[in-house]
Symmetry: C2
Subunit: 208 residues, 2 copies
């Protein structure tokens, strides 16, 4: 199973990492231009859609599923932790717990299909279902305390990994947030990251 | 030879990567507060001196000498390429060519000793020696077109690697700059980096 994500492309194929570098700088420019969440989500959605329209830039080691649990690979974190970019890799049958984010986030599917179940929290603390959506390759979803922050994400493919690229308005692996039991009972968590090294996006001497 | 840099500390010793993370955010805060080069070099010198005062944070894979040439390992690049942080590793007998930078830079010795030879370019294009200095552990030097931008750096130890940590006011591996023959003849170069992955500084869930 753990080799499936790379079967479509040889492991050592040169990757077009310049796409991710361009996305990082464009997103940083966007955040320098506005602090308005709605503007960030709208323009950021276009940037992310453009990034995931091509699937030739994610190095294989950050696309690798783990048979035990879904993986969160940090790809870039801003110097002042104003934003972070993460690849999420779900093996067959894998899902997140129900969780929140506490900051704005964008989720774009790079490979495969993801089922997103949204929830709303009642004033009493209970959770109610608030819709379900299947995100396909190239599609982008948004989360935030303002637009709806609680969801569960499941790999929509039974036989292959799915991969999505996420952008958040903080160093998401360090944010204290919550998972929820189905009755709404919250539990504090900090996700961290699966990777001890991240890709070097910055070597222009090797890209044309 | 290539194992010597790590002899002082087992390869798998936990590293205090939080020091480097703190340096990155402090430097980004400094650049957000001022664009004045003199202020950046003065305050940046203090930040760098504090970083290199401890030698418990650089992961072994970014401290490794290469028998063929000195190594430039990118440790962090800012989202908008306003600054970059690099570890330079010289094996015994290794030296840079005479070169310039075209942006401000700070050089702090983390391990060992480095010989710095400074040069000035005459209006005729020739080079003249402009002083020599031995930088020891904990010492910091500055370069820029304003304060003096042309030098050659040599490992000052005949039997061990030396390592310095550099900060530059750009993505230095992508900057088009020059090396010089001893008669001053310039040759354009872009240094790139030796590493395809950089350390993940951002997983606070694993540090206390
Ligand atoms: Fe989520
Ligand atoms: Fe230099
Ligand atoms: Mg020492």
């Amino acid at each position: 199973m753990s080799g499936l994500a790379t079967l479509e492309r040889p492991v050592d194929a040169p990757v077009n990492i310049g796409r991710l570098r361009g996305f990082v700088t464009a997103f940083a420019d966007l955040l320098a231009a506005t602090r308005d969440e709605q503007a960030i989500l709208e323009s950021g959605r276009s940037l992310l859609a453009r990034l995931i329209a091509a699937d030739d830039w994610l190095p294989a080691e950050f696309a690798r599923p783990n048979p035990d649990r879904y993986q969160q690979y940090l790809l870039h974190c801003d110097s002042r932790e104003r934003f972070s970019i993460v690849s999420f890799v779900w093996g067959p049958g894998q899902a997140t717990p129900i969780h929140d984010h506490s900051v704005w986030g964008l989720v774009g599917v790079l490979r495969g299909v993801e089922k997103v179940e949204r929830f709303r929290r009642l004033p009493t603390g209970g959770l109610v279902a608030a819709g379900e959506e299947w995100l396909r390759e190239g599609e982008v979803d948004a989360v935030s305390p303002r637009v709806g922050d609680i969801h569960r994400v499941t790999n929509g493919l039974a036989d292959r990994p799915s991969i999505s690229i996420h952008v958040y308005g903080a160093n998401i692996g360090a944010v204290e947030r919550a998972t929820y039991a189905t009755d709404g009972t919250p539990k504090s968590f900090i996700s961290g990251y699966a990777n001890g090294v991240i890709p070097n996006l910055w070597d222009r001497s090797k890209s044309a």
